[in-house]
């Protein structure tokens, strides 16, 4: 009995001594518990769908379950705030949109500091933003559209909402072409698309995944895309850059973590996400929805977000796209 007791005490002492050492090796055995990804939208929709698709291949690579938590609200601010305030232990990540890069300039009262409280970890995907008109529209080509836009405010374009990539693509174009159009924001791209198909909205700016079916059915005509390279779904449609307007933007999903998370953990997570994104099941869905992934390492994704934040900030300042 005595021996056992002594052994137990020794064991307890050893364990106590090992505690500080254990935390120093935290990144060695990370992850030792389920990893949570906070999704800023309700279940359903592209962002949630791809995140859930990523769950299985990602947890295979991490060796721990990946939990999806939906926290919709305030165009992602609620979810991002939850990430910013979570412990920086490598078990909480969150998805951010393009608006993440514009928010510091657009929203004066953000409950967190985009650059100080959060750190970008991995790139998931970017959408192809397309400019389309109803089939019945007299506008046949992009040049027709530019001609019509010469009259200030004459062209009315609809998007899924203020502060989305589609909205910024129009602002960037207006800046580049020196024209002025009228923005009609909707509560979601689907409702804008409904009005466009019905011929109530002259110009529709939404992701190709939303308008693609209608373009194939011939009810909508895609004039151009705002992506850096041509859409895989519509390879015949020129990009705005090709047409002479340096507009290159898409709605992106990027994973972020609370600032202060161990860089070694971030490295591991970045590598796991990149591998998972490249798995067949995920790639099939990305292709079906005309989404593009970028194989960015940790440094590249951080540089990407920094550049986007600067670019969006300048755009918001220059055009005074700000709630008043």
């Amino acid at each position: 009995m005595a021996v056992t007791k002594r052994a137990l005490i020794a064991l307890a002492l050893a364990a106590a001594a090992a505690v500080p050492a254990a935390s120093a090796f935290a990144q060695e055995d990370w992850p030792s518990q389920p990893v949570k990804i906070i999704v800023p939208v309700a279940p359903g929709g592209t962002t949630d769908g791809i995140a859930r698709l990523l769950q299985e291949p990602l947890s295979q690579r991490l060796g721990q379950p990946v939990v999806i938590e939906n926290k919709p609200g305030s165009a992602g601010v609620v979810a991002t705030d939850a990430v910013a305030k979570a412990p920086a232990d490598g078990y909480t990540f969150g998805i951010v949109f393009t608006s993440h890069a514009a928010n510091p300039a657009m929203m004066p009262s953000l409950p967190y500091d985009t650059e100080k409280d959060l750190v970008p970890v991995a790139f998931m995907w970017r959408s192809v933003v397309s400019w389309s008109v109803p089939a019945s529209s007299p506008i046949q080509t992009f040049d027709d559209l530019v001609a019509a836009a010469q009259e200030p405010g004459a062209v009315i374009y609809g998007t899924g909402g203020v502060g989305q990539a589609s909205h910024f693509s129009a602002e960037l174009f207006e800046q580049a072409a020196g024209v002025e159009m009228t923005h009609a924001p909707y509560r979601g791209a689907a409702l804008a698309t409904a009005d466009a198909i019905a011929g109530q909205l002259p110009l529709l700016i939404v992701n190709t995944s939303t308008v693609g079916e209608h373009a194939r059915a011939g009810t909508m005509r895609i004039l151009a895309t705002a992506s850096p390279e041509r859409s895989k779904m519509f390879p015949d449609v020129p990009t705005l850059t090709e047409l002479g307007y340096p507009v290159s933007i898409g709605e992106f999903n990027v994973l972020v973590a609370p600032a202060g998370t161990d860089p070694a953990i971030l490295q591991k997570f970045n590598a796991a996400v990149r591998e998972a994104m490249a798995s067949d099941k995920v790639m099939d869905q990305l292709n079906a929805r005309d989404l593009v992934t970028q194989d960015y390492d940790l440094e590249e994704v951080q540089q990407f977000i920094a550049e986007e934040t600067e670019r969006m900030g300048k755009l918001v300042e220059d055009n005074d796209i700000r709630p008043q």
């Binding site: 309700a42 279940p43 359903g44 929709g45 592209t46 949630d48 769908g49 859930r52 698709l53 999806i68 926290k71 919709p72 609200g73 305030s74 165009a75 601010v77 609620v78 705030d81 657009m106 009262s109 409950p111 009315i156 909402g161 203020v162 502060g163 009228t182 009609a184 924001p185 909707y186 509560r187 979601g188 689907a190 409702l191 698309t193 409904a194 009005d195 198909i197 019905a198 011929g199 109530q200 909205l201 939303t210 693609g212 079916e213 209608h214 194939r216 059915a217 009810t219 099939d284 869905q285 079906a288 929805r289 709630p323 008043q324």
Partner: protein, 497 residues
């Protein structure tokens, strides 16, 4: 006869044992969850959505459709028995359903509700099969101007619902519009009336408003009277059978309600919400004695309930054929399809014909299951009323708090539900009816959005509302309703003097 053949093959898919099983299970759980105060169809579908990701596409959708119908019907149970509606549509069913329950006719009310749902759903499905292209064309002739006129008509109809003073009814509508202004402005993303709270940026959730105004208030007033809440006679199968009088009164409202619901359900955003109380107002204005409404009129539940379910069916038309969800629940269903690699849209009927028809057939089976499952259960539901208020109400408070919390995991929602509960108490003490408030709260933001869009597109020309023929026609109906209301209230005043 291609249509029948397609439907027949769809029935074959829906009747596969697994699909049939999940349909029944979905309806059952949906009813159970929907009957709980604080949890509506949207919450039920979104909670169960992730668990369907591992099923076959058709099976997953069949189950979700079952949950959806079940939860809608469950909402009516809570409305009729406890006077606690979770949505605007069940707030309408409360108006006459709860008085019926208080008169000891809860069984009849629930049976008529089930039959009206089934009939409305069936008519909606027939139209869904036969008239998709036609109904899509109707929805497409609606622009911002038409939507605005249409919502104005909705508000006029909401004003007709009350049975009290017209000035108070109007005040409730205005209060609802005012509360609807809270949240970020769609056009500029400017926060409005949020008082610096991030939580209010998306506006107040309609479930929070409904649970506070109706649920908390009902519980408070229920507990003010000591002892048993209501005297409920034993419910035998016989007492559930509607009298010939009831049946005669229910038939036409069900048919009219189904028609209204089928047509309005196609309109994205507004249709399903509007159809219920449009049907209620229509029945009230057609009735020989409108004063029976609000006191347990059978027409007042038969019409709205059938229109609600018909709209639930035809709301799938824009979702399936255009890929455009009309309501939050439809958006969830759309999300479920896309996760399974089905892109709803013009090509769906050709590319995924099996899923399209399987889904439609299972809609119908879901409705039938709803009817078969619930008739024997009505007795059990009614037993709930026999519980003394002491057992029931304290638990309902906890359920409401938890249900509201589960929407967004926000403590702020729990505090808001209390504020709306206190508002509901004040309104009841002042004899103001909260139903028009709730409807205006939902319609207000859509109205503003469409008005501004219409102004944007017509370059500030207000005449656009009367220059567009469809908009003009809707406005004419609105004016007729408002005029009728004025006339009725004048006549009532003269009669009182």
């Amino acid at each position: 006869m291609d249509l029948l053949h397609n439907f027949y093959s769809g029935i074959g898919i829906a009747f596969q044992p697994l699909n049939l099983f999940v349909c029944v299970a979905g309806v059952f759980f949906g009813t159970l969850i929907g009957a709980l105060p604080g949890i509506g169809a949207i919450a039920a579908v979104s909670m169960l959505l992730p668990s369907t990701f591992y099923l076959e596409p058709v099976t997953a959708l069949v189950m979700l459709a079952g949950v959806y119908y079940g939860a809608e019907y469950g909402g009516s149970i809570a409305s009729i028995l406890l006077n606690i509606p979770g949505t605007t549509s069940s707030a309408v069913v409360c108006l006459d359903g709860n008085p019926m329950a208080r008169q000891g006719r809860a069984g009849v009310a629930l049976l008529i509700t089930a039959v009206a749902s089934y009939t409305g759903g069936t008519i909606g499905i027939v139209l869904l099969m036969a008239g998709s292209p036609l109904l899509v064309a109707l929805a497409q002739s609606f622009g911002p101007a038409e939507y605005f006129s249409f919502m104005l008509l909705g508000l006029a109809a909401a004003g007709m619902m009350g049975s009290g003073s017209p000035a108070k009814g109007l005040a409730m509508i205005v209060l609802g519009l005012l509360l609807g202004c809270i949240g970020a402005d769609v056009n500029t993303a400017a926060p409005r009336f949020t008082f610096g709270l991030t939580h209010l940026y998306d506006g107040i959730n309609v479930i929070v408003v409904a649970m506070g105004l109706f649920g908390i208030t009902e519980v408070i007033f229920g507990m003010m009277a000591p002892g048993r809440s209501t005297e409920v006679p034993r419910v035998s199968l016989r007492s559930m059978v509607p009298t010939p009088e009831d049946r005669r009164r229910a038939v036409m409202p069900i048919l009219r309600g189904s028609t209204i619901g089928s047509i309005l359900g196609v309109l994205p955003g507004a249709g399903a919400t509007l159809s219920t109380f449009m049907s209620y107002s229509l029945e009230k204005s057609l009735a020989r004695d409108p004063s029976r409404f609000g006191k347990g009129a059978v027409e007042g539940i038969a019409g709205p309930e059938s229109s609600n379910n018909a709209a639930a069916q035809t709301a799938f038309i824009p979702t399936l054929t255009l890929g455009i969800p009309g309501t939050a629940t439809m958006a969830l269903m759309l999300g479920a399809m896309m996760i399974h690699g089905i892109q709803p849209g013009p090509a769906m009927m050709t590319q995924h014909a099996d899923i399209f028809w399987g889904l439609i057939a299972s809609f119908w089976i879901g409705n039938a299951v709803l009817l078969v499952l619930n008739i024997p259960l009505i007795g059990i539901w009614v037993q709930m009323l026999r519980l003394p208020s002491l057992y029931l109400y304290p638990t309902v408070i906890s359920l409401i708090c938890m249900g509201v919390y589960s929407i967004n995991f926000a403590v702020a929602d729990i505090l808001l539900v209390l504020l709306f509960g206190l508002l509901g108490c004040a309104l009841r003490l002042l004899k103001c009816e909260p139903a028009p408030l709730l409807i205006a709260f939902v319609l207000g933001p859509m109205m503003e959005e469409n008005f501004r869009r219409a102004m944007l597109m017509s370059r500030g020309d207000v005449a656009t509302f009367v220059e567009r023929p469809l908009s003009l026609a809707i406005l004419a109906v609105t004016v007729a309703i408002a005029g009728g209301m004025l006339l009725v209230s004048l006549r009532r005043r003269r009669a009182a003097q």
